[in-house]
Symmetry: C2
Subunit: 652 residues, 2 copies
């Protein structure tokens, strides 16, 4: 057993760097062929590039070549692999991409022999009725496209847009059976496997393709080629569901997943096998490409451990918690993979970010270092007159600890030049408009925007360099971020991480990274504040919690909105974790809740212009998942009674 | 006839400003009741606010109150009126909005008597299977919700996302019949009426609800409450289709549309009636709310003229044209309505924009003036050392002609202060990174970003003031716009208007606006350029066409991409309009085409952070309609042959 995986590790390396000679390859193949049980298949856990069909096809060719060397039945690629998931809307606007993916499929078929290649692609719908395409799986063998299986259940919620482009196929169970060396494998395409009427309380679709295929065809096992993203608490759901279905149908399930990140969506791999009792019997690596050999009937295959955060996150957590620890390794790996793949797939190599000595930029710097290498990260300290000596020192110390490039440049002169022009132009505008604010954020924002100006200048001047937006999720909900300032950048690593979780992540990284305690303790210990303005009451830089509300309270509101879809009424009646420690009045709580929804409603514009960022949480405000019209800013989140409504209408 | 519409004009005014006393209202109602044929109904052509259910309900109450004064059978509101279309995803995240819309519906029912109220709302799906909601039409009368009709065909393409949220209802023809004073009206909900198998070459859905309702129920007429946006060339399609269906089924069709703009989507109203021969017999105003009385069997109702651009735009235009004139009035009205409603619905009143003396900012200034009033527009000339005296004078003359507020402030000092800091920091970065560009846009961008800094400063300092992004569609395709510079703002009025069309629009406005020739001829006459850099060859400011390609060619590429979905191969073989006048070599053409797709592929990030903007063209790159993953930047738009693919795989 272990030897098989030692050998396939060599194959993985060869697939990555083409490092083996033909003789070595034959040697490995010969040894593996002696070890593999008859009926083995390979799960090709691969990382495609959206729309870059040539690249995906060439990669597939190399994996198929390796599969052909082995006496196995099949190699299974993920759903939509060839076109590269996610697809956005480009297949509708640019049909040439789909035509190309069909031709590349035929070209790949030319490479096949007895090993069957099961691979996702976009099929053209030639009927007069329905959408233009099917989301299909092709079976290639003996030089030809042998068979095509069409997906039936088309998810169209959150990050899924299948029904935007694809025609749902009626469940034709016979068409889904692939003969693999005398065994019957039933093909289930991702969402097709997620509608068990026994498992879910509420089902999205009227049919369960798994049940139909098993009942009508009695397959020996099921294969599910997927492209399913990681999210907080999703692994436990996935595990429970697949295990439930395998056991219920007394049929092993082979689940093959994509790996890598496509902009906002991250796939963790962890392809796997469940036996007919619902036991997990094999599992691939997470966050890595892998040529993963499995024998669907092996009672004890190799199970690579899941990173913490995948294995036990669901544990029926129904309440908000500050114990973020169980999800931190997954969060870390997801963001690091996202940064790395985003840069790689868009052709960027270097990142530049402002280092304020605060938590957000600090966590971003560590994640960037681990994703891109310290030599490719440039942290810039850009003090203004409000910036404290401590902040400057903390930033510098952090950069030294991480070994990243560091520079310091004062924004005082830029601020002064801008402020002078503002005075000039405001004096002029005052003659025309009588609506000047008494208090406003003009000066705060000059600082944030001058800093972004420097970062974008560096991106203009140096090749393949991208500025980083450091806004976090708690602050984005509150609109506590400056347009063309800290929220501006080519990528926003922590836009789906709340503040309380960021503190936990900082501590976790200090403990778990090879270089311990890279983050100076002072940064974690200090209370967050943008250092853009002075609080007149304390005469010190204004703290974020003074401007907003306690982060612990704020993060629970966010959690309740995203996970429980609660209104103000629901929340005022629920006990918050914060309330178990601090006594707050009903009025104070209501004030914070109203403030939350008021600020959220005027932050929608900011959400709409946020740079791309990785989805991490169970739910997010990432544009790939959630869209809220900016004009929908007057929603009443606090229910009124029917009687009140009658009265309001009478007075309308 | 005319008297009826004189009287309903008074009702419209009263609904807007509550200007009539009770006696006057009764007088109008009495006179109208003497004039209206039995069986008249009212089409409530209204402008809802997304998510602002209380506002929509109160408005409905006032319209229902007026309907109750008249001896009519029914008042028909648009699809999804009560919740306010568009909805984005907020109904899933915030179910309280849907609960509130159901309660407001009940409260409205309390106002009803014998006049039936036909009104769109979001219905909760209480079944265990399917999506959470239905897109439904309620019939209210005698104090109660009498009947609910559920939409069957759920569009999910371009700007439509119905299937994201709604469960499609099987076509239950009996449930769709509303008894109106002895006549049977069949309710068709928007897309339900857009799947005629005789009219369309290709159909999206398997059933035609119109055909089913007519065949099974023999209604006397059909009513279609809609929320259907305006687009170039859509009116002709809509007219032909509705006329075709009415004639085919020998059944009058009453089509009731929403009016007003919801962020990116604009509804033009123009509600109407077709008789059983397919003749248009009545049509409401365009781009205005209207209490529109129709009698479905009246052979000659009032037909308000459509603005130019609505009435004859389809005319089987299969080729690119520079004759934009037929669509200019519609374009103008759509953008003006969009600006006005976006500001109103988000609570803004004033706009500030940079006036460069170029075409983009000029056209924006005129549109803003007409949407918000000259007193609410502030144009700022912000010259740098490259800015010519002509540009400054043109900007000033424009502002004077428009009567808008004007200020001038030099950005030279800001530029110098920034440039100095850049030199400092670049000297430092040079020690670390050996990847500085030989030529780049750093200096160009400092200018554009300093200007945006001033505009956002004014927005920070003055109440309810929004900066305007002036980028046009041609330049956005080319990425010829500065991040945090000219493409930054709270709204982007002309992001869906190509450059050649902008020239035409400028001339049209000079001719058609009350104040003639507000745009100085010099602005229209000069060739576009950003005035950010000097062309070393000419020693004059670099022209956009020198940096890109001729606008006439560029705009045809865009047209072919959006309307014909063509690849490079398709276009190289087609004759461009530009080629009929200028001889260009095959190599030159190929170079421009490749440049287009290369630049487009690296502009995707810019598209993703664009401010909200009105959809105007038949197809757009507006985020509400088209999403292209930024990482999908390596699509090959130039097909390779199957043989080439085989070779590439062999060498993979």
């Amino acid at each position: 057993m272990e030897r098989i995986y030692e050998l396939t590790d060599l194959i993985d390396k060869d697939l990555k760097d083409n490092s083996l000679g033909e003789t070595e390859r034959e040697k490995i193949a010969a040894e593996l062929n002696g070890l593999l049980p008859e009926g083995s298949i390979v799960l090709a856990q691969v990382n495609p590039v959206s729309g870059y069909v040539e690249h995906n096809a060439k990669k597939a060719a190399r994996w198929i070549e390796w599969a052909n060397r082995l006496k196995i039945d099949a190699v299974v690629f993920p759903e939509m692999y060839l076109i590269g998931y996610p697809i956005g809307d480009f297949i509708d606007r640019f049909p040439v991409v789909v035509e190309e993916n069909v031709e590349w499929l035929e070209a790949l078929a030319g490479l096949t022999g007895s090993v069957k290649v099961i691979i996702g692609f976009v099929e053209i719908n030639k009927q007069k009725t329905g959408k233009s395409y099917y989301n299909s799986i092709a079976v290639l063998a003996e030089g030809k496209v042998q068979q095509v299986i069409r997906k039936s259940l088309l998810p169209n919620y959150a990050e899924f847009n299948d029904y935007r482009h694809f025609e749902p196929a009626p469940v034709n169970s016979a068409s889904r059976i692939v003969e693999l060396n005398g065994k019957k494998a039933g093909i289930i395409v991702c969402e097709d496997g997620w509608n068990d009427f026994g498992f879910f309380d509420k089902n999205l679709y009227k049919e369960d393709p798994v049940e139909i295929v098993v009942r009508e065809q009695h397959p020996d096992y099921l294969i599910n080629p997927s492209a399913s993203i990681t999210r907080a608490k999703k692994e436990q759901l996935k595990h429970n569901m697949l295990s439930f279905a395998a056991k219920k149908h007394r049929t092993p399930i082979v689940y093959s997943n994509q790996v890598g990140s496509g902009e906002c969506l991250s796939f963790e791999g962890a392809s796997r096998v469940y036996d007919a009792e619902g036991n997990l019997t094999a599992m691939a690596k997470s966050y890595q490409e892998q040529f993963f050999v499995v024998y669907p009937f092996n009672p004890s295959g190799k199970i690579y451990p899941l990173p913490r955060g995948l294995e036990k996150t669901l544990n029926s957590q129904k309440a908000f918690t500050l114990d973020h620890e169980p999800d931190l390794e997954r969060t870390y790996l997801t963001i690091v993979q996202s940064i790395r793949d985003y840069f790689k797939k868009t052709g960027f190599r270097r990142a530049v970010l402002g280092l304020s000595g605060g938590l957000d930029s600090t966590v971003c710097a560590v994640l960037l270092t681990d994703a891109l290498g310290a030599e490719n990260v440039l942290g810039i300290s850009m003090p203004s007159k409000i910036t404290s000596a401590e902040s400057k020192n903390d930033a510098k110390e952090l950069a030294e600890n991480l070994g990243i490039n560091f520079a310091e440049v004062s924004i005082k002169d830029m601020y002064e030049a801008t402020r002078k022009k503002f005075d000039e132009v405001f004096a002029d505008v005052d003659k025309k408009w009588d609506c000047r604010y008494k208090e406003c954020f003009t000066n705060d924002n000059i600082q944030a925007r001058s800093r972004a100006l420097i970062l974008w200048g560096i991106a203009n001047e140096y090749q393949a360099t991208l500025p980083i937006a450091t806004s976090d999720k708690s602050e984005l909900y509150m609109g506590y971020a400056t347009i063309n300032g800290d929220m501006s950048g080519g990528f926003a690593p922590i836009a789906d991480v709340t503040k309380t979780k960021l503190f936990a992540l900082a501590r976790w990284m200090n403990e778990k990274r090879e270089k311990k305690n890279a983050i100076p303790e002072a940064i974690i210990a200090k209370r967050p504040g943008a250092e853009l303005a002075i609080n007149p009451k304390t005469n010190k830089p204004l703290l974020a919690e003074e401007a907003l509300m306690p982060y612990e309270f704020l993060d629970e509101v966010i959690w309740r909105v995203e996970n429980l879809h609660q209104s103000i009424g629901d929340m005022i009646n629920a006990e918050f974790r914060y309330e178990t420690k601090e006594k707050i009045s009903h009025e104070q709580k209501m004030q914070w809740l109203k403030k939350f929804f008021r600020r959220m409603s005027t932050s929608l514009y900011k959400w709409s212009i946020m740079p791309p960022s990785p989805i991490v949480d169970a739910r997010s405000i990432n544009k790939a998942e959630y869209r809220h019209p900016i004009i929908a800013s007057k929603i009443n989140f606090n229910k009124t009674s029917l009687e009140e409504k009658f009265q309001m209408l009478k007075n309308a």
